[in-house]
Amino acid sequence: MSLEVLGITVLWLFLYGYLIVASIDFGAGFFAYYARVSKREHIMSKLISRYLSPVWEVTNVFFVFFFVGLVGFFPDTAYYYGTALLLPGSVAIILIAIRGSFYAFGNYGSKDSTLYLFLYGATGLLIPAALSTALTISEGGYLTEDENGVTFLAGELFTSPYSWSVVLLAIVSVLFISASFLTYYADRAEDTESREIMRKFALWWSAPTIGASLLVFAGLRSHNSEHFGRAIDLWWMFGLSLVFFLIAVFLIQQKKKYGTAFLMVMLQFFFAFFGYGASHLPYILYPYITIEGSVVNETMGTALVTVFILGLCLLIPSLYLLMRLFLFDADYVKGKK
């Protein structure tokens, strides 16, 4: 595997990791707020906070990892995306900042503040929308470059049907992923009431997820037909994604094996996300940046890969420990520890 393919694969894996953990987190914030305003808080919020408390910081790191790695492996991305994303990027940072701090303020400071919970819950749905603009811009057509530098065409982005379909997909996916995870988590906690609420949410958001994916495909077709063509060549990945989706919905509907169902949801997004990523190549930002043209020099690339492997040797056991202690510890999940 060449350095640039290795680099982008690693980064994509981290972005996928962020997609899953952040979706659970973003959705959980929204559901926690929903539970408060619909007066069902006593049931759900404890459950959600038991899951979130030890992991919220880790979620953020996945994201930092991705963008630091991207600039490290592909320094040209800093130049183009940096210039283009100043405004959407700043909005995303501000939302992430509000969300992260108000989570801590609410969770460790004053648990009864509805304002804190609102800020935390509402931003959770806006962040995926803000972040997804980076993916939209990567398709090209929202930037121009001349001798004065790169200009971002905000108007184009706001009026583009493709851009809105991506935003829609981001939001419904968050709700779907989160609900299917929390269904599983509630089931493990033997908290039937919460499980039923979350189960309904999961089923409710399943159809829009697929609907929005189709919209994105349609949007891509008219926006960047080259990319669309490469996606069609990889049809089997999207097909597999759909199969895993159907299994997941079936299991949740039948009230069976919620753990497996969530695994299926993860696989569904894994194939869709990697299918999208693979068909995006060789471009990182169409048509300005390709992975071959922008990859960091070899010395740095090798150093990064080495550090990455060493880092994983440290991270994987640590993450395993974290999950053993909190996610897979039945007593903790049930609130006995």
């Binding site: 992991v55 953020n60 320094p75 900042a97 990064l304």
Partner: protein, 448 residues
């Protein structure tokens, strides 16, 4: 009147983010050490006071960590958003420590999560204490890695630029550049010192207000002894940094000292004012001291600002930043030394009101010194973003929306700062440590 073009706005926004972030970053590096020490003492001495101390510090710490994490994310992204051309070069040369910093941060985040939720989960208290180690290592390594990046900006090396192309890259040489050792040493010791003094200041304040209990007295003794050790380390690091500057970055030291002519037996200038003809008045002059500071001998020749073309000189107001940083550093050493001396010599009263007031002041002052020091370090290398290679004007974004972003972030930091203080005050106000002690350790002993 300051002209608000894109470059100025980019500088202002970066400065605002860093000035805000550095408060939380400093605490984030130093407090874990203090928590680890307190928990260690608690287990070792079988004294529940220290355990409660560690727990309460850890609880407050979560709030500051949250703000530190989110503002750290902000500066991480802003580097690319505001300085795209710089990051293009930096990506080629300095991506390694940036990348490693996120690993260190990851490591810390995982174990902090575990630490906070496993206080009562292990039978053996030492197992829980062990979780401090990865947290302290993660926090300190983050500081180390990110400081190497900043050091690189001051003394770039490990690459060549041939026809506009960056070639012959050596990631390790870039990381371990001449500025790295002194910078890292100074950053870490001063972060430890500041954290210890802030905790001491809070404790001293409570003792002043309502006569603290044994718990508070133990806390103050612990933080002041730690504060003294770290202050001594900071002073040493500061001295080494000045010697480094004299050798490798003379224009920065010369600007700090208003030192124009290259000469030996150079005077050290404390405070004073300067006019547009570079005439200095109202100063306190210590003959020969600058030479001594630069090379441990009055004969050391110190390079003056006149050796540098005018457009490559840092602004002269950094002198005040430098003086205030050093002044506060000396004060910290003095007040911590005084308390520790009183602590050991029985006929003095270490709970003397005046002394306690001095300690209360030392916390915020130390944090201000951190800010002054960073402003001096950063403005002192103007006009360069990469000293000798790239100026800040060449590195700034061409985007026209920096002004809007600046306004948005300014509002964000105001909101975060306000709520952070509010939540922290609320957290501790109505929960005295005595009640917590009674609840967790009824009878006042450790059950082991």
């Amino acid at each position: 009147m300051l002209e608000l073009d894109g470059v100025t706005l980019s500088r202002l926004l970066t400065a605002t983010t860093l000035i805000f972030h550095v408060i939380f970053a400093t605490i984030g590096v130093g407090i874990p050490v203090m928590i680890a020490i307190a928990e260690f003492m608690g287990i070792k001495k079988k004294d529940p006071h220290y355990l409660i101390l560690a727990r309460r510090w850890a609880r407050g710490f979560t709030i500051t960590v949250a703000v530190g994490v989110v503002t750290g994310t902000a500066i991480g992204l802003q580097l690319s958003l505001l300085w795209p051309s710089f990051m293009q070069v930096a990506g080629q040369v300095i991506a390694l420590p940036l990348f490693m910093e996120t690993f260190a941060f990851f490591f810390e985040a995982i174990f902090l999560g575990i630490y906070l939720y496993t206080w009562d989960r292990f039978k053996n208290r030492w197992l829980h204490w062990l979780l401090n180690i990865p947290i302290v290592i993660g926090a300190t390594l983050s500081a180390f890695f990110i400081t190497t990046v900043n050091a690189f900006m001051n003394t770039p090396q490990g690459f060549d630029i041939i026809d506009g192309e960056t070639v012959n890259i050596s990631p390790l040489a870039a990381m371990f550049n001449p500025a790295t050792p002194t910078k890292v040493f100074h950053v870490i010791t001063s972060a430890y010192m500041t954290s210890a003094l802030i905790l001491a200041a809070i404790t001293a304040f409570i003792i002043l207000m309502k006569k603290g209990t044994d718990y508070h007295k133990k806390a103050l003794r612990l933080t002041m002894v730690a504060g003294l050790i770290f202050a001594a380390g900071t002073a040493l690091a500061g001295d080494l940094s000045a010697k480094f500057l004299a050798k490798e970055q003379p224009e920065k030291l010369a600007a700090a000292e208003w030192h124009f002519e290259t000469e030996s037996n150079a005077d050290l200038i404390l405070f004073g004012t300067i006019d547009e003809n570079n005439e200095i008045s109202n100063e306190i002059r210590i003959p020969g001291m600058l030479s001594f500071l630069a090379g441990n001998s009055f004969d050391t020749e110190v390079i003056g600002l006149n050796e540098f073309p005018e457009e490559e000189r840092p602004p002269l107001w950094v002198h005040y930043m430098f003086d205030m940083m050093v002044g506060i550093g000396m004060y910290s050493l003095f007040i911590a030394g005084l308390f520790v001396m009183f602590m050991f010599i029985k006929r003095f009263n270490e709970w003397n009101k005046l002394l306690l007031m001095g300690i209360v002041a030392s916390g915020p002052l130390a944090m201000m010194a951190i800010e002054f020091g960073w402003i001096y370090a950063e403005v002192g290398r103007q006009p360069w973003i990469l000293r000798g290679i790239m100026t800040v004007d060449e590195a700034a974004t061409t985007s026209s929306s920096v002004g809007i972003a600046f306004g948005l972030f300014l509002a964000l930091y105001a909101v975060l700062g306000f709520f952070c203080v509010k939540v922290l005050l609320r957290m501790f106000k109505n929960r005295p440590p005595e009640a917590e002690l009674e609840k967790r350790f009824p009878g006042g002993t450790l059950d082991s």
